[in-house]
């Protein structure tokens, strides 16, 4: 009967440091938010430069 028994020890999950996970996630989210803000500002600035003159010269 021993051959049918599972002798391998139960798999135990590694201890999770919740505080560290939260801190890391918060850091990633802030970096992502900053990245998005930079992207918006870039597109806004590029649009002004590329189209600004043309918009000003359009007839009302």
């Amino acid at each position: 009967m021993t051959s049918l028994q599972d002798d391998t020890p139960p798999v135990t999950a590694a201890p999770v440091d919740t505080a560290a996970l939260d801190k890391a996630r918060r850091g990633r989210n802030i970096a992502l938010a900053l990245g998005l803000v930079v992207f918006i500002l870039l597109v806004y600035g590029v649009t002004l430069v590329r189209m600004g003159g043309h918009i000003a010269s359009r007839p009302l």
Partner: protein, 339 residues
């Protein structure tokens, strides 16, 4: 099995799909790990050479558009780095120089690195196209494709000429910068590309001479691994003999001025001297069994020092060449046009 060790390091023959999906959950990924995927040091060199190309075009470009163009080229280079780290995670984890990278270290999943690389590739190419022109965007897309598909996925593990051909990807940023400013790429733009292209083999092989054990371990056929150290030292000298005269050409084509000529000539002489020393050294050789005791170790170390010197000076020389071009064009020093 050491639970703290990188997954690919403890399972060197793990298949790629398993290797890139595996992850050690012990360390949460920080934002800096994602930044690391973009190879910031490579990005800084790309920013520098692309900005030089942009300035050397001598076209009036809005400063914001110029800055965004360089930013896009840098992000494109970073995206290539992330895709490279995704694909090479299986070998990176087994080399000393690269095993701390975020994917083999288990901090970031391979799929995440690949996704970041694809998204940033699309972002950088589209934004560069809309900001400047589609010639620059097309060149950036080609650069990313060449680095990821042609170099990383194909050449790197297949031929000792990997960095010779693959070096084109690292050489293109000045042409992209030039195209972003001028909408065209004249011969002088391609001359800057040629300088970096010819610089890459002696630079990379000097490094490979004293890190070849790592490459051999993972089966990457770098020149010292595939053809031996003596052949590599000879090829370093041959490429240096071709590279240093090429560096003088900008003084004859209306690209470089007197400062550039002085820097390229003096630096070129030092470069050749260091390449000659590497050629005469035993860098990359296995210790000679006939030499006894400490003398045997010293003979190998001395050769490695010559290779290190050439590697370090090659970075300085390329930086000085491009800094001279950048300074001359910013200061509006007239080029020589000796021809």
């Amino acid at each position: 099995m050491d639970p703290g060790a990188p997954f690919a390091y403890v399972a060197p023959y793990m298949s790629k799909p398993v290797a890139i999906e595996g992850r050690a959950a012990s360390q949460p990924a920080l934002w800096s790990d994602y930044l690391q995927l973009l190879k910031p040091r490579v990005m800084s060199l790309v920013v520098f050479t692309a900005a030089t190309g942009l300035v050397c075009a001598d076209q009036s470009i809005n400063p914001l558009l110029g800055a965004v163009a360089v930013f896009c080229i840098a992000i494109g280079a970073g995206a290539s780095g992330a895709l490279n780290m995704w694909f090479d995670a299986d070998i990176d984890g087994r080399m000393r120089r690269t095993r701390a990278r975020p994917v083999p270290a288990g901090k970031v999943r391979g799929a995440e690195a690949a996704t970041l690389g694809i998204v940033l590739s699309l972002f950088s190419v589209m934004l560069l196209g809309m900001t400047t022109n589609w010639l620059a965007a097309g060149l950036l897309a080609f650069t990313i494709y060449f680095y990821v598909v042609v170099y990383t996925m194909w050449l790197k593990r297949w031929t000792p000429q990997n960095i010779v051909i693959g070096g084109l990807a690292g050489a293109l940023p000045p042409a992209i910068g030039w195209a972003a400013a001028a909408g065209e790429t004249p011969l002088n733009a391609w001359l800057m590309v040629l300088i970096i292209f010819m610089w890459t083999p002696p630079h990379a092989w000097a490094l490979a001479l004293y890190t070849s054990e790592d490459y051999a371990k993972v089966g990457v056929p770098m020149m010292p691994v595939a053809k031996g150290a003596a052949s590599t030292r000879k090829q370093i000298l041959i490429y240096s003999l071709l590279f240093t005269p090429i560096c003088q050409i900008p003084a004859f084509t209306g690209l470089g001025g007197p400062v550039y000529l002085a820097v390229s000539a003096l630096g070129g002489a030092v470069f050749l001297l260091l390449a000659w020393r590497v050629f005469r050294s035993r860098a990359g050789d296995a210790p000679d069994e006939r030499i006894e005791g400490e003398d045997r170790l010293y003979a190998v170390r001395a050769g490695s020092k010559d290779a290190r010197n050439l590697f370090a000076f090659s970075i300085l020389y390329l930086t000085l060449l491009f800094a001279a071009l950048l300074a001359e064009h910013l200061a509006r020093i007239a080029p020589l046009e000796l021809l």
